[in-house]
């Protein structure tokens, strides 16, 4: 059992045995280190001013990901490397830098400077760090990837155009900064930090634990069922920074090897509870382009780098984006307590608002997602005030089984329409047997949604809107599926998120 947190700070080893379980990474940087380049804009992971890059090993290779340091707990940094804006222009000259005066600048800083990418400058350090991680992504950035990368970095001054131009110019997929140059040394150090030791800092009353195995996790949680399990802290972080809750006992699952696994074959995908959205995205995309698009629109790049699908389910929110998606796909959920495990239908996990089928001391261990079969067609849509990095007003997911242009079975789930993510049982039934050729027959099924849901009004949308949009999305799905299966010629049906051109054969 190890009793100090170890991480790299721009390549240098830091060991701390005096951390508060609720201490955030941002507070560590600004208050303890006095590194004030990183800013606090909102304290809830929505503005990106506090963005830093986290280095970790993925399949043995060093990767840098942007995260919101305001809602990352310091203890979660164990085994990782932290790079902040304060580090970027340190060190030796950077190759490829153009302006004479800017020779000490990192290429993304240099491009930001030349494109007039800052005005008030407060969001700028976060944007620079976001672009730094894009610079290290092994691909040439285009407008789409840049929009995606920057979705979690709000700028109120520039209107983004110069920042996008700076990114287009500097993020070419050919990283040759000092971080790349000594990537090997950093990789070695990170490998050394991966000691597979359980981490426990504090005492029985107040601690930060980061077990290395499911076995230790299960035993600590059984002993401390009042502890809070934290995966990416994109929700729990706000309990600390906004609700100002004291969470004396934190169990972080990010080091539990078994929970970080994602496996798949032709029939199904199995996602460990500690797998981040970012790591799950690619595999989930093999189910359907719409699944990938929904995952892409969860939070921001920063949120997806730390948040997990397991956490999105476990916190039981009625407006989480992955549950309705996974319920429509008929996903199964595994829960573990001590050495006992059980598997349930994901939809049964959500009992009521704030109430889930989870016993004391029991934790979510994995999610099993069946892939689509030959005659199944899938559609999903997210509606929010802003396209990127917004919480859904509603989300709809449809899995239809089609036989000879007829719907033989429908599995539909909505988020944001009830106290839990919920299936539309009446509508599913009403759709059975409908001929996709005869659009006049759709209307009755569409109206059936009113029997399934009585949505609420809140700051995101009114009850009326939710119902009307829910109907609109079903019409849209039916329209898209009918044109796909019948005439192969589709009208433009979406203002964003057009499906990749891989229209499935008619069945």
């Amino acid at each position: 059992m190890r009793q100090d947190v170890k991480f790299l700070r721009d390549g240098e080893l830091i060991e701390l045995n005096n951390i508060d379980p609720n201490e955030t990474l941002l507070d560590y940087l600004r208050l303890r280190e006095g590194s004030c380049g990183t800013k606090e804009g909102c304290g809830e992971g929505d503005c990106g001013a506090c963005t830093v890059a986290i280095g970790s090993l993925k399949d043995g290779k060093l990767q840098y990901q942007a995260v919101n340091s305001c809602i990352q707990l310091l203890g979660m940094m164990d085994g990782k490397e932290i790079i902040t804006v304060d580090d970027l222009s340190k060190g030796p000259l950077v190759k490829g830098s153009q302006a004479k005066r800017s020779q000490q600048l990192h290429p993304v800083q240099d491009a930001m400077l030349r494109h007039h990418g800052s005005q008030c400058g407060f969001c700028t350090p976060g944007i620079v760090m976001s672009l730094f991680t894009l610079y290290h992504a092994k691909m040439k950035a285009d407008r789409t990837t840049i929009n995606d990368q920057l979705a979690g970095n709000l700028c109120r001054c520039t209107g983004y155009r110069p920042i996008i131009d700076a990114a287009l110019e500097s993020c070419t997929g050919k990283a040759e900064d000092r971080f790349r140059q000594d990537a090997q040394a950093r990789t070695t150090k990170l490998n050394e930090l991966d000691d597979k030791e359980d981490l426990f800092i504090g005492d029985e009353a107040k601690f930060f634990a980061a077990p290395a195995s499911t076995k230790t996790l299960a035993s600590i949680y059984e002993k401390h069922p009042d502890a809070v399990i934290v995966a990416g802290a994109t929700d729990v972080g706000l309990w600390i920074t906004k609700q100002l809750r004291d969470l004396p006992k934190i169990i972080h699952i990010g080091r539990v090897t078994e929970l970080q696994k994602i496996t798949h074959d032709t029939n199904e995908i199995i996602i460990g509870a500690g797998v981040t959205y970012a790591d799950a995205q690619e595999v989930l995309a093999t189910i359907d382009p719409d699944v990938a698009e929904i995952i892409r629109r969860i939070g921001s790049t920063q949120v997806r780098a730390s948040g997990t699908i397991g956490g999105n389910i476990a916190n039981g929110s009625p407006i989480g984006d992955s549950p309705p998606l996974l319920i429509a796909l008929n996903a199964k959920l595994s829960l573990q307590k001590g050495t006992d495990t059980r598997e349930i239908d994901l939809e049964d996990f959500f009992i009521d608002y704030g109430k889930q089928d989870r016993e004391e001391g029991e934790f979510v261990s994995k999610i099993r997602v069946p892939k689509l079969t030959e005659n199944e067609i899938f559609r999903s849509y997210k509606i929010s005030k802003r396209f990127d990095q917004d919480i859904s007003a509603l989300l709809a997911a449809f899995k239809l089984t089609i036989d000879n242009n007829r719907i033989t079975q429908a599995r539909i789930a909505y988020g944001g329409m009830a106290a839990t993510p919920k299936r539309a049982a009446h509508t599913e039934k009403a759709l059975q047997g409908i001929d996709l050729n005869v659009s006049e027959t759709w209307e009755k099924a569409v109206q059936t949604l009113e029997q399934d849901f009585t949505p609420l009004s809140d700051m995101r949308a009114s009850a009326d809107y939710r119902m009307e949009a829910a109907k609109g999305l079903l019409i849209k799905a039916l329209h898209e599926i009918s044109s796909e299966t019948i005439d192969h010629e589709s009208d433009q049906t979406r203002v964003i998120g057009a499906r990749a051109i891989d229209v499935r054969e008619a069945v």
């Binding site: 804009g41 400077l113 007039h116 400058g121 396209f387 809107y465 009208d491």
Partner: protein, 779 residues
């Protein structure tokens, strides 16, 4: 032709160049210091506000014992701890620093906690037990109107007899719609740090657009002379009007704690607290009638703006006056009544926001143009053009000012052509014809925005220039830097004057002990006024140097010129630094103040007479959008902008202002929605619920150009024009394009839609149109 400006093709070395923002390198390195980054003096206390959880009522009891005994707490102060005047209002004396007895809005600050850490203070602030005897709050404009509650008397412009003329016009229309408010969402929240000094003196670092007002508020609150208080602001992490009057409360509370405890005190608002406790753009309920002829030409306009001012006057007088000043936008109203009611509600006091009421006025005029076009089946651009102000006639605004610098026809025609407006109009009609769910819309809207403070005495600025013997220069002025590049532009002006490189000019933090009695940095006037004042200060020193050189080198003054860090004196050249060294030896002062008062401003609010603006800035925007009629979702596909900045002081910075202003305006009219519940509590008080544009919201095809101007016809700094606010209003084109897209569903029917055009508002309007279209079909 009136609009032809004088030839101003003077060649310049620094002015007019794409110099980088003076702090750009520090921004991208993270080394630019904002107030929270300044090393705190030892023993600094951290503050947090305790606020009312009710919107209206009387404080029955206030139990702060748990707050006081919370870990880390050093002091808890209430209204009774204020030695002087408990007011942080900009003028009217109606904004309490700490509530005393009555609660006027949810979020009103009742006490302040000072603790050893920010977190300790925030945690302690939540432990208060406050009982409030609640009365039903007035939440909406309609609530306030019903009770006849107002923060200021109504104000009206009247020309002719619009009601009669409308009644007898060939066509007339009556309409109402609601214009939403807007949260500033400056990335750096409100913050101040006060450091006590010698003999009751106090230094306040404040993220403020108005250091002088901070100085006055703090002095008044502490009961000391203005001279005992210094306010400093090096830079703000964004402001947009939100730190014009409303930075004062946090500065005052910091100063209060520093005064009472004798320790430095810093107050940084948490984002949610900031959004709950500070005012926003005024939302307005707009009712209007207009008469027009078969060409769409207006005969008369009668418009009422009912503005939600919140619980106090704040800057509502000027803001709502400017709504009226811009209710005409670019159009001549032969007869007009423009009325503004300043409605009181039990919500946070609304305040300045980039455009200062102007955007609300222009959203109205643009909706009127769209409405007339739909009714007549005309292209909206043709209706707009036929109503433009004229050059020789039809050029008097409803407030009596003659429009003398009109470039609307040329500017709009150029954009019409470069944006390929007419062809795209046809393509869009064809698209809409065959697309069942998605519909496109297009609009090309003009902007005409008056430059100057409408409160005459604010049109003044001061500067202080020091030249050091090594030839380096320090500049200080009353303007503040909030990202707009003011410091850079003023430094360019000074460098130009002395003929030295820009990096020899150091701009120093705005500070009330350097340049006193300043106006806020607002009304887009920063570089117009401070640039002129700095130029004058530099000129004074330069004149002294010329006198000296003429004497020393025995040459005629006319042969002396400054360029490339050198001074040409007759036939010889000496280094600028050499001449400044000589000046010291010859006992010539190398320091001077400068001062500027904007000329020709004669507006008298009481008599509604005179000229409020020195000139107008113009621009136009063409926007194309696609809406989804099943969900109400909307995407802005392409935007073309042509904007007039006169002779630009710095084209790169000006383009940045235009793009940023447009996107901010677009956010206001599309995704940014403030939601209050029926108890008057703001429900959208964080970026998780209040959505400003992000990178993917800007149009993929975004073309921004500066109007090829021959220069401002008025004698402004290098014939440039102000650029801070006008571009916000270019975004009305997005709202008009949405209206246009919805209107395609049922030709001739006017879509009912409020701003912002959220998916929900668009879908409601779409469904309403479909119903009306169905009814029309059945009849």
């Amino acid at each position: 032709m009136l609009h032809k400006s004088p030839d101003t093709n003077v060649s310049t070395a620094t002015v007019g160049k794409d110099n980088k923002h003076d702090s750009a390198e520090r921004h991208i390195k993270g080394t630019a210091l904002y107030i929270d980054d300044i090393r705190e003096p030892q023993g600094t206390l951290h503050l947090a506000p305790g606020y009312a959880q009710a919107s209206c009522g009387k404080i029955k009891s206030l139990d702060l014992s748990a707050v006081k005994s919370a870990p880390g707490v050093v002091a808890v102060l209430t209204a009774k701890d204020i030695p002087g005047v408990n007011d942080c209002s900009p003028a009217m004396g109606d904004d309490m620093i700490l509530a005393d007895g009555h609660i006027l809005f949810h979020g009103q600050v009742i006490f302040v906690v000072a603790a050893k850490s920010h977190l300790a203070a925030r945690k302690a602030a939540r432990l208060a037990k406050i009982e409030i005897e609640e009365t039903a709050p007035m939440v909406t404009v309609e609530d306030g109107l019903e009770k006849d509650a107002s923060v200021l008397p109504p104000y009206e412009f009247l020309r002719g007899s619009p009601d009669e003329v409308i009644a007898y016009s060939p066509y007339k229309i009556t309409d109402s719609f609601h214009i939403g408010g807007q949260e500033h969402f400056y990335l750096e929240g409100q913050i101040a740090m006060a450091i006590p000094g010698d003999d009751g003196e106090i230094l306040v670092h404040s993220s403020t657009q108005h250091p002088t007002e901070i100085q006055h508020t703090v002095a008044k609150m502490l009961g000391v002379q203005d001279a005992a208080v210094v306010c400093e602001c090096r830079r703000m992490g964004g402001a947009f009007g939100g730190k014009e009057s409303q930075a004062a409360q946090w500065a005052a509370l910091s100063a209060l704690v520093a005064h009472v405890t004798g320790r430095p005190a810093k107050m940084r608002l948490d984002r949610d607290d900031d959004m709950i406790m500070t005012g926003k753009r005024h939302d307005q309920a707009c009712h209007w009638q207009a008469g027009y002829d078969d060409q769409g030409k207006l005969t008369a306009v009668n418009v009422e703006f009912n503005s939600r001012c919140g619980c106090s006057a704040d800057l509502s007088l000027g803001v709502n006056d400017r709504t009226m000043f811009h209710a005409d936008n670019s159009y001549y109203y032969p007869q007009a009544r423009i009325l503004s009611r300043r409605v009181m509600t039990n919500t946070v006091s609304n305040t300045a926001f980039r455009g200062f009421g102007g955007p609300q006025g222009m959203v109205f005029s643009e909706r009127m143009m769209d409405t007339i076009a739909i009714k007549l089946g005309m292209d909206p651009l043709d209706v707009r053009k036929i109503n433009f102000y004229g050059d020789e006639d039809r050029n008097i605004t409803p407030f009596g000012m003659q429009v003398q610098d009109n470039i609307l026809d040329e500017l709009v025609s150029e954009l019409e052509s470069t944006s390929d407006y007419r062809n795209r109009r046809k393509e869009i009609a064809a698209f809409n014809e065959k697309s069942p769910f998605l519909k496109k819309g297009l609009a090309l809207n003009p902007v005409k925005f008056g430059i100057s403070f409408t409160l005459k005495h604010l049109n003044q600025a001061g500067a202080l220039v020091h030249v050091y013997t090594d030839g380096s220069v320090q500049v200080n002025h009353g303007g503040t830097e909030m990202g707009q590049g003011l410091y850079t532009k003023v430094a360019q002006v000074v460098a130009e004057e002395f003929g030295i490189d820009l990096d020899h000019v150091r701009i120093t933090a705005t500070k009330t002990d350097k340049v006193p009695n300043t106006a806020p940095t607002a009304a887009s006037s920063g570089s117009d006024m401070n640039g002129m004042a700095a130029k004058q200060a530099a000129q004074t020193i330069k004149d002294r140097l010329i006198d000296l050189a003429s004497k020393l080198y025995q040459v005629d003054k006319t042969t002396i010129s400054f360029a490339h860090n050198k001074v040409k004196v007759g036939d010889q050249e000496i280094a600028f630094a050499e001449l400044t060294q000589q000046a010291f030896l010859e006992r010539v002062s190398l320091s001077s103040t400068g001062y500027y008062a904007t000329p020709h401003i004669t507006w008298d609010r009481d008599t509604k007479d005179g000229r409020p603006f020195l000139y107008f800035a113009y621009g136009a925007c063409c926007a194309e959008v696609t809406i989804d009629t099943l969900t109400g979702e909307m995407k802005v596909d392409r935007v073309d902008i042509l904007h007039d900045v006169g002779k630009s002081l710095n084209p790169a910075i000006d383009i940045g202002q235009i793009e940023g202003g447009f996107v901010q305006g677009m956010g206001w009219l599309t995704t940014e929605e403030l939601v209050y519940d029926d108890q008057g509590r703001l429900r959208t008080h964080a970026p998780s619920t209040y959505k400003i544009p992000t990178a993917s919201d800007i149009p993929e095809d975004f073309r921004v150009n500066l109007w090829n101007s021959t220069g401002n016809r008025e004698d402004t700094i290098y014939r440039s024009k102000a650029v801070g606010e006008p571009p916000v209003m270019l975004a009305t084109a997005v709202f008009s394009a949405v209206t246009n897209a919805i209107a395609s569903l049922s030709p001739g029917q006017v879509p009912q839609i409020n701003t912002p055009a959220t998916p929900e508002n668009i879908l409601r309007s779409v469904q309403d149109m479909k119903k009306r279209d169905k009814r029309a079909g059945e009849e």
